[in-house]
Amino acid sequence: MKEFALYAGCTTPVRLPAYEASVTKVLEKLGVKLIPMKDVNCCGAQYIESVSHTAFAAMSGRILAIAESMGRDILAICGACSGSLKIVKHELDNDEKLRAEVNALLEDEGLKYTGTVEVKHLLQVFREDIGYDAIKAAIVKPYNGVRLAAHYGCHVLRPPEIVHVDDPENPTIIDRIVEIAGGVAVDYTGKTRCCGGPMLGIDEELAGKIGTDKIDNIRAANVDGIITACGFCDIQLTQVQFGDGTEGKERIPVLQLTQFLGTALGIDAEALGISLNKISPEHILAMQ
């Protein structure tokens, strides 16, 4: 059984434990075991990253070094975390000076970054480590034509030359899994646009407008639900449907890819934390 060190990040364990649980259960069903990382710190994305690049590299570098000490590659399930870890890995691999500085900071903990660890986002594990054929073979409760819009997440996809997940302008992994599970992957305007999540802590009004643009475009495509593979995007796309001006509008449920796939794999909806979803995806599950 393939094993990864799971770096869940700050947001998912607190705001979206169902995501963490569904990832663990779905991957286990598909032959991938996750070992939660202990004694880690925030990756430093966005905030520390903005004010001290070296401190940011040290924070993500420490996470990389801990995974190396575990002898496992990292699975990151949040766009921001996977992006930070990959960018910092790229920098540490190409900048001797930065690597020396980071390693000096890690020395007293007995940690050292050597470059052997790989970082993967959840979508990569599906495509590269499990494979579409194996996913297809494991489906026991396929959906019956449920129409779903995929939202990939900016930091999952970009910059493509560093993250290596999917085509940044025309991503397909979520769509393929939706189709494999018997759903209809629906294209919509602005599919690769940002959900506005990173703006949440800065300017809530702008974040709301950006998220609403996304939801409006998805709504125009007449879908039953939204599938994401990033905790932060999930929270934002859900929250924006409860903001000002949303009264009377039908809310589109947001499902994590692993929740969607999990039920098709025969995993109990309760174990996937679906009852914790703020917008009930009942009608999606009813189409199985």
Binding site: D167, E169, N170, D187, T189, G190
Partner: protein, 917 residues
């Protein structure tokens, strides 16, 4: 139009030390044409090589030139005829360089000339062939917006004015058929309702359109490319339809003998192989006699295959057609000696005695009463003899004979018919459709079971003892070997048993006069079917062991070809292995086809059909047949229906042409290989390929061209509407570091401005906007043209690169998102039509050519220039020059200038060579 002097094998130049005084120009676009004309004008010979079927290049596709708005074709056409008239220019179209060797200042160039299947000297360009050609494909010259036939010229002024047959090879259906039935050919006829011609195509290779249309195993359908998209075509049922249609309509023309030859041929065995062989020989004019031991011809078709699958009137009609060709039949005749026939004045003999001895299973009491062997059983049933089966019948085996026996038993009144087969359902060798029908009729399938003993009571079968099997490792046939499961034996009570575990050739048969295997099958050459006895050929089951009808029919035809060769003293094998390239899956464009269902075969109801022997499958209606034929993907493009051959009064079309390779020796080479357009689908954000009303500039050129697919009407492709608002997106696939094209393509700004002006010319009321990063209107006349576009034509220019194009699903309209960088305002602007202006790139194949010439290319893939300032058309290889876009983007005037310059550089060498010589 071409030189009569054959310069292709320059004997004079081969003399030691002699240097060639002719040149080769690679690429027949406007730059290459100019170079060729200028060299020829100085009295030197030029070979002008062009990979497409006509010279003219991109300029022939373009509507207007900039900045003068001249008609591109009007300028180009006189030059095309100038080239074709010039006796010093030898055009080699549809040709490419295979290799280049440099030898003492000369270049030895091997040219691969693709077969165009039309004699360039005979074709007058009259287009009589086009009207009869049944195959239509998208026209590349029109950027696939319009259609052309499989035999075509790309545009009316094509030079040479010679048609080309677009033949991609052999389609999978035909390549797979053992009898080489031209499925794509007859299906092409059917989609046009030309059933008579379709049937004629089938009958070129087999006499059995109706018979094989019912009983063929249809290898073609297993390989049919349509199956990669949805479901394979129902090919077998389509040629059955052709035969049925002829009978229904009574359109069959009487067959008359045309025996023109003296050499008599004997055919031993009147089954499918023998009849097929006689058919082909009689059509060639040979007097043929078939010797058949049974009362009637047909072999297993008549005596084994049940009537509900093959009505005997169909068989009789098709056999009678063969007899009517002048074939003599000696029925009820046992041939005692093959050599005896040769002594009796037969020039050649075909042995097709089949394999009709039923195999035994070798268990105790196999000879008990009530135990039948399939061939004997089916013959009795076919000839109407009484058979007492009782109620419970077991059939042993999984092949067609087993399934046939089971279904016949049901029709003879057996209540409970069980088919016992030792492997699983996956391995059943019978035709799947027959297995399905049998199941529908209530036949039980007892799989993974093997009989080990027949139980008897007073010497009559009373039951069978079986053992359960499991599948073990694969055996030599690749199928998993069945292995008995210990202690799984059981017995079942039965009233009769039919054993159908295969057939063998007669161990004492007449074929044993030839060299045979231990199973008495003839050792015949797999291609020529010759036996060890000169003049004796063999085919069908007597060679292969029990196989398929279609294979036997194919053998009959191949043997007939061999016999004809034998009689005429021609080598039997020569050229027989030569095969057309089989069209591969990736070569067939399926991107624009929607998945569709395969036509279903109407059948007699289960209730009635098990009561009688009338035909189960009822045949297609005309509408179904035509709709099914429409599904053909026409994999090979040309289907070799040969309608064009019949239509051509000058006998210019020859489908047996092959590609040629020949060598030229030249003193100088000019590369004028042109460019390829950047593939704008690399920018998914612009929606090209996804949104119908997003097109690229070359498509636009064809849309506004009077000779284009819309006759010059600028319309939207989604709905034919006149676009009221058009947006042009500039700088796509050019000056893009991330896409590997950092350079400016030099022509896009000006052709973009020209296209915008032309939009206004076509629809003056429309609103036309150009989105650009900056307009590069360098040089005389260009800035003025740009100004004129703005002021006189009212084209709007907005400085800002477009980020994204969004489609309104309801209207098909498109919104561009762009920042007007002059005001800083962000806009969403709606248009009816978006035209992307792509940059240009080095042409495909230039890398291979560079390897042959030992020449370097720049990082971007263009030809490297030795000194851009002093010798702008010289490559690093002495004697090799470049013009047009091969070394970087150029507009038409610059390309032509470079053509003249390269010609001059080349003739300097040629003139020196002349002096030296």
């Amino acid at each position: 139009m071409v030189t009569t002097e054959q310069e292709t094998k320059p004997k004079a130049a081969q003399r030691k030390g002699r240097k060639s005084t002719s040149a080769l120009v690679v690429g027949g676009g406007v730059a290459g044409m100019q170079a060729a004309l200028d060299i020829a004008s100085q009295g030197f010979k030029v070979h002008l090589l062009e990979k497409s079927s006509s010279i003219g290049g991109r300029m022939a596709m373009i509507d207007k030139t900039f900045p003068t708005l001249d008609c591109s074709a009007c300028i180009l056409t006189p030059r095309l005829s100038e080239v074709s008239r010039n006796s010093d220019i030898k055009m080699h179209t549809y040709s490419e360089i295979k290799s280049v060797d440099q030898d003492d200042g000369n270049f030895k160039v091997k040219i691969h000339k693709r077969a165009r299947y039309v004699d360039e000297d005979k074709c007058s360009g009259c287009a009589d062939c086009v009207t009869v050609c049944p195959v239509e494909v998208p026209n590349e010259f029109d950027q696939n917006l319009g259609f052309r036939k499989a035999i075509y010229v790309p545009f009316p002024q094509a030079t040479p004015n010679v048609y080309t047959v677009d033949k991609r090879g052999e389609p999978a259906c035909r390549a797979t058929c053992p009898a080489e039935v031209n499925a794509q050919g007859f299906i092409a006829m059917m989609r046009h309702g030309r059933f008579e011609e379709g049937l004629e195509i089938v009958r070129r290779t087999i006499p059995f359109a109706g018979v094989l249309g019912r009983v063929c195993i249809s290898f073609c359908e297993a390989e049919c490319e349509r199956g990669m998209l949805d479901h394979s075509l129902s090919i077998r049922n389509l040629h059955r339809f052709l035969a049925d249609y002829e009978i229904d309509q009574g359109t069959a023309k009487p067959v008359t003998p045309n025996i023109t030859k003296k050499e008599r041929v004997a055919v031993v065995g009147g089954g499918p192989a023998g009849i097929s062989c006689a058919y082909q020989l009689a059509m060639m004019g040979y007097p043929v006699t078939i010797f058949e031991s049974k009362p009637k011809l047909g072999g297993l078709l008549r005596y084994s295959i049940p009537e509900y699958r093959l009505p005997r009137d169909i068989l009789d009609i098709e056999i009678q057609r063969v007899i009517d060709l002048g074939v003599k039949v000696r029925a009820n005749t046992h041939v005692k000696s093959i050599k005896g026939l040769l002594e009796k004045n037969f020039k050649a003999v075909f042995v097709g005695t089949g394999a009709s001895q039923s195999n035994k299973i070798g268990v105790p009491h196999e000879d008990a009463e009530g135990v039948y062997h399939a061939i004997d059983f089916l013959e009795r049933a076919s000839t109407g003899q009484e058979i007492a089966l009782g109620e419970r019948v077991a059939v042993i085996g999984g092949g067609d004979a087993a399934v046939d026996s089971a279904r016949v038993a049901k029709r003879l009144g057996a209540k409970d018919v069980t088919l016992i087969y030792r492997r699983s359902h996956v391995e059943i060798p019978a035709i799947p459709g027959e297995v399905e029908d049998a199941k529908e009729e209530g036949i039980k399938f007892m799989l993974l079971t093997n009989p080990i003993e027949i139980l008897t009571a007073t010497n009559h079968v009373a039951g069978v003892r079986c053992v359960k099997m499991r599948l073990g490792e694969p055996d030599h046939s690749g199928r998993r070997r069945p292995v008995p499961i210990p202690n799984s034996e059981f017995t079942m009570a039965i009233d009769s048993m039919i054993i159908a575990v295969g057939q063998s050739a007669d161990l004492k048969g007449v074929q044993n006069e030839c060299d045979c295997s231990e199973w008495s099958t003839v050792n015949a050459d797999p291609v020529t079917l010759a036996t060890n006895i000169p003049g004796v050929f063999a085919g069908g089951d007597v060679v292969t062991g029990p196989l398929t009808v279609v294979k036997a029919v194919g053998h009959g035809r191949q043997a007939a070809i061999s016999i004809d060769r034998f009689v005429n003293g021609v080598d039997l094998a020569e050229g027989r292995h030569k095969q057309l390239h089989r069209v591969q899956s990736y070569e067939v464009d399926k991107s624009h086809k929607e998945p569709e269902d395969r036509a279903g075969m109407p059948k007699q109801s289960v209730v009635t059909r098990t009561q009688n022997f009338s035909e189960v499958e009822l045949g297609f209606s005309e509408a179904t047949a035509r709709a099914e034929a429409e599904r053909c993907l026409e994999c090979a493009v040309c289907c070799e229906c040969l309608q064009c051959v019949a239509a051509c009064t000058r006998e210019a079309i020859d489908h047996s042409m092959t590609d040629e390779v020949f060598e030229l020796e030249v003193g100088a080479i000019i590369l004028a290989t042109g460019y390829k357009m950047f593939d704008v689908s690399a920018y998914p954000q612009f929606g090209y390929g996804k949104y119908q009303n997003v097109i690229h500039a070359m498509e636009y050129e064809r849309l506004i061209n009077a000779a284009g697919p819309t006759g010059g009407h600028l319309i939207r492709l989604s709905d034919g509407k006149i676009p009221n608002s058009i947006g042009f997106i500039q700088c796509v696939g050019a000056r893009d570091v991330q896409k590997g094209v950092p350079y400016c393509s030099r022509v896009c700004c000006m052709y973009g401005v020209k296209n915008a002006v032309m939009a206004k010319e076509h629809h003056p009321e429309s609103s036309v906007s150009v989105y650009y990063a900056d307009i590069r209107a360098f040089g005389k006349g260009f800035e003025e043209f740009y100004e004129m576009a703005k002021t006189r034509f009212g084209v709007k220019f907005m400085r800002g690169r477009v980020a994204e194009v969004m489609e309104d699903k309801n209207t098909g309209n498109l919104t561009v998102r762009v920042e007007d960088t002059e005001t800083g305002e962000l806009h969403n602007i709606e248009h009816d039509l978006i035209v992307i202006s792509p940059g240009i790139q080095p042409p495909e194949g230039l890398e291979d050519l560079a390897v042959e010439l030992n020449m370097s290319l720049s990082d971007e893939g263009y030809v490297d220039i030795a000194d851009k300032v002093i010798t702008p058309v010289d490559t690093f290889v002495p004697g090799v020059f470049v013009c047009g876009c091969a070394d970087g983007p150029k507009d038409i005037p610059d390309s032509v200038s470079a053509g003249s310059a390269a010609a001059m550089r080349a003739t300097i060498i040629l003139a020196n060579n002349q002096k030296v010589n």
